[in-house]
């Protein structure tokens, strides 16, 4: 480790971008409702996303009740079941995970971690949240319209999405599509802020290669989202026109009950291309922030610098780039040309390389680390396990000959949930336990946290591991009930019952988490400014929670990267990014040469 002594009186070059003028609200409404402070907007995003996520969680519980104990609950009809499947999927992927990672963590962490006072366009940032809320309300409204919400499945494939036999084919689907369009408009407003803030508002000394990986992950995910969401926007608009004005973008010629429906020659495959052109990057829109956050959680709690920082950055970029080259692996069963299948199988397998590289680097960061099994660390390690499991089954499904027999089965549900649902959700929990002390000034209860982790972690394995076996048996996904199909052994149904019981337990334990969030806000142990003894700038603010403007009268100056943990010779096992070389801060000493 080299170090250069520094005299604080020397000239410090001015920042290249002037500090923005902050809006200073004086009323409660200005401060907490129509707020332009990214931290308040982050909390607004997080509360809304978690609230709508709870709705989706309840829906999944109802679905599991039906699958585990068919014909017991009369209020679950086949139509309802499809509606619950659809709403659960779309809410979780878009309205919870995307909104929480980018709108929630992005808003809170980007300005603080890069050393900025706020996002560069605070007003647009505020509007972004309100447009998001409007999109959520539109989606929720579909529960109350004639026909209920759409039951087309979360991929909304035409033609069935807008045919009369599908639940919610009149109002529900239109509300879903319009809600998605508004979500994308709102996200674009927020996304512009995240990207430009990282590009332009970094404090002095905060070069790109000194950014914490959390910021790198959110930054790259935002770029992906900005470029990929237009595909969903376009398909949503086109399908809305098909449904409302009778165009035939996606709708082929159809005869229903002996009557020609008026559509002609549309291409459902075109919709699939557009949807998955968005849909596959969406996996990484959720995963990249999770990768970044987990890197930081592991580094902080192993008291070690992240292994292979540069490789981690390049891996994020490579994954981002490659994620646009693999979309059609979701369409192997659409009858595509086998050569295309070969191409997309190859790119899919290639993307495993940078992803595996990240996994190795997390494990190597842990290797011989001074591991502190805090609650965030438990969730981070849980993520690594789960992501490896989910990733490995992805290699199965990435191959055409394996995918074709499995694609209609519960194997896909198991794979998808391990890699795209449980993994990022574990990171969400880890991140909340990690940054809650900064947001509120209080620690979350540790015992409740560990209880929450172990039940969630083991419970999700109890849910999804057996589901792979159901898939191998050929148990189909999307089915309301297996009925009198005797090709499945009786044990398949017993397994389904077990999965349902595990799912209900995991669902119920989330109430403990919610209780912890609320209880700790009032009674939690005071956190202090830097309870995890972390190096990044958000932990170096003069106030906890940080006030509007984040850093008091002067912005911090950054002298080092974000991972100076356990530096040989240093008195403390961390050196904050804003600590000048050769000086002491917060009881630390500069390392020896």
């Amino acid at each position: 480790m080299t170090s250069v002594t520094h005299d604080e009186s020397v000239y410090v070059p001015p920042a290249e971008v002037e500090e923005p003028e902050l809006y200073h609200p004086k009323t409660f409404v200005g401060k907490y409702i129509w707020s332009q402070d990214a931290k308040v907007i982050a909390v607004q995003y997080a509360i809304t996303a978690i609230a709508v996520g709870l709705v989706a969680l309840v829906l999944s519980g109802i679905m599991r009740l039906q699958l585990g104990f068919p014909h017991v609950f009369s209020f679950i009809t086949p139509s309802n079941y499809l509606q619950f499947v659809t709403m659960h999927g779309m809410i979780m992927v878009i309205y919870l995970l995307t909104a929480l990672f980018l709108g929630g963590f992005g808003n809170y962490l980007i300005p603080l971690m890069v050393g900025a006072r706020d996002m560069v366009f605070p007003y647009v940032n505020m509007v972004s949240y309100w447009v998001y809320l409007f999109a959520v309300l539109l989606l929720m409204a579909s529960f109350f319209v004639p026909g209920g919400p759409t039951g087309a499945g979360w991929t909304l494939y035409p033609p069935q999405a807008i045919l009369s036999g599908t639940p919610g084919a009149s109002w529900g689907i239109v509300l879903m599509l319009i809600s998605l369009a508004f979500f994308i408009i709102g996200f674009t407003m927020g996304g512009l802020n995240y990207v430009v803030t990282v590009l332009q508002a970094r404090t002095r000394g905060m070069t790109m290669m000194r950014l914490p990986l959390t910021v790198w992950g959110i930054f790259m995910a935002t770029i992906l989202a900005l470029l990929a969401f237009p595909a969903l926007f376009v398909s949503a608009i086109m399908m809305t026109l098909d449904q409302t004005l009778g165009t035939s973008f996606f709708m082929p010629a159809l005869v229903s009950k002996g009557e020609h429906l008026g559509y002609n020659g549309g291409s459902p495959i075109l919709f699939q291309h557009l949807f998955w052109f968005f849909g596959h990057p969406e996996v990484y829109i959720v995963a990249l922030p999770a990768f970044g956050i987990v890197s930081d959680l592991i580094s902080v709690n192993a008291r070690r610098n992240i292994f292979g920082y540069r490789m981690m950055v390049w891996a994020i970029l490579a994954i981002g780039g490659l994620s646009f080259m693999v979309w059609a692996h979701h369409m192997y069963v659409s009858g595509m040309n086998p050569y295309f299948g070969f191409f997309f199988a190859t790119t899919t397998l290639i993307i495993a390389i940078p992803t595996a590289l990240k996994v190795y680097n997390w494990v190597l960061t842990l290797w011989r680390g001074n591991i502190h099994l805090t609650v965030p660390m438990l969730f981070a390690i849980g993520f690594v396990f789960t992501f490896i499991n989910g990733g490995l089954t992805g290699l199965f499904l990435g191959n055409v000959p394996v995918d074709i027999p499995l694609s209609g089965t519960m194997f896909v549900v198991a794979h998808f949930h391990m890699v795209m649902a449980v993994s990022p959700v574990l990171v969400v929990f880890g991140a909340i336990y990690h940054w809650y002390p900064k947001v509120t000034g209080r620690m979350l209860n540790d015992t409740l946290g560990k209880f929450h982790f172990w039940v969630t972690f083991l419970g999700t394995y109890a849910i999804y591991y057996p589901m792979h076996y159901l898939g191998f048996l050929g148990v189909p996904r999307r089915y309301y009930a297996m009925g009198t199909t005797f090709i499945f052994p009786e044990s398949a149904q017993t397994l389904n019952e077990g999965i349902t019981i595990a799912a209900l337990i995991v669902g119920a334990v989330q109430l403990v988490f919610l209780y912890n969030l609320i209880w700790s806000y009032f009674h939690g142990k005071p956190a202090g400014g830097n309870p995890w003894r972390a190096t990044t700038l958000e932990w170096q603010t003069p106030h906890t929670p940080p006030k509007h403007g984040n850093f008091g009268p002067t912005l911090p100056v950054v002298y080092r990267w974000a991972y100076d943990y356990s530096v040989p010779g240093a008195a403390a096992d961390f050196i904050p990014q804003n600590q000048p070389p050769g000086t002491k801060a917060a009881g630390t000493m500069e390392p020896h040469q």
Binding site: T2, P13, V195, G205, L227, A228, T247, S267, F277, W561
Partner: protein, 223 residues
């Protein structure tokens, strides 16, 4: 999806090029230069709002590239009938070119600090842009009168969709134009609107370019 992929390839190339130019080659764990030698944080030497506009234009380009991709894929359908383009589109194109020229003239005047010219240029640019939109509506009307409303055939549906989305983008620009023009009419000094005028001009040039590409695509496939 070739067009969309080409566009995205270009964007990724720019991102990688920019990062290579950044300090991506350094070893940050060793790099602790004294702060006086740190030339800055590597921000682009542009106002943030300009960078924001650049990012937005990339998003809008993604949207239009995907639409063009979808247009070409849908053209492969057996029911595709070629579109009879209204001739007024040529006039509209000329009007939009003039609007762009007017905005460029305004930009030059703003740089020179000539308030009167800025005022005239903005008004001319706005009037021409509204004329363009009116002309597009007229084209819709002509198609409708000829019996080709949005659902008549897929080529028509795309025509309405493409022109509507382009028009909506122009309307968004006109909202910013309206705020800038109101300031100029109130007599605000030129320095305070120079950046807005520049942003409007860049946006107008971009929308002209998009329209020319869309028009070329439509011409390439019309009757």
């Amino acid at each position: 999806m070739t067009y969309a992929l080409l566009f995205l390839g270009g964007i990724m190339a720019v991102v990688v090029w920019w990062l290579v130019r950044q300090t991506v080659h350094v070893k940050p764990w060793l790099e602790q230069r004294p702060i006086e030698s740190v030339s800055g944080d590597g921000a682009l030497p542009l106002p943030s709002v300009k960078v924001g506009l650049g990012v937005f234009l990339a998003v809008a380009t993604s949207l239009f590239a995907l639409l063009i991709s979808a247009y070409h894929m849908r053209m492969a359908g057996e029911d595709w009938t070629r579109l009879a383009l209204p001739r007024v589109l040529w006039l509209n194109t000329a009007v939009l070119i003039l609007a762009s020229v007017a905005m460029q003239w305004t930009r030059v005047a703003a740089r020179r600090g000539q308030l009167d010219h800025v005022k005239n240029g903005l008004i001319a640019g706005g009037v021409l842009s509204f004329s363009f939109l009116a002309g597009q509506l007229w084209a819709w009307q002509q198609l409708n009168a000829a019996g080709y409303f949005v659902a008549a055939n897929p080529a028509n549906a795309f025509f309405y969709l493409l022109t509507a989305l382009h028009g909506l983008h122009l309307l968004g620009g006109l909202w910013v134009w309206g705020r800038t023009t109101a300031k100029v009419l109130r007599g605000v000094e030129v320095g305070k609107v120079r950046l807005s005028v520049e942003l409007c001009t860049v946006y107008w040039h971009y929308l002209l370019l998009v329209w020319l590409v869309l028009f070329a695509v439509l011409l390439h496939t019309h009757t």
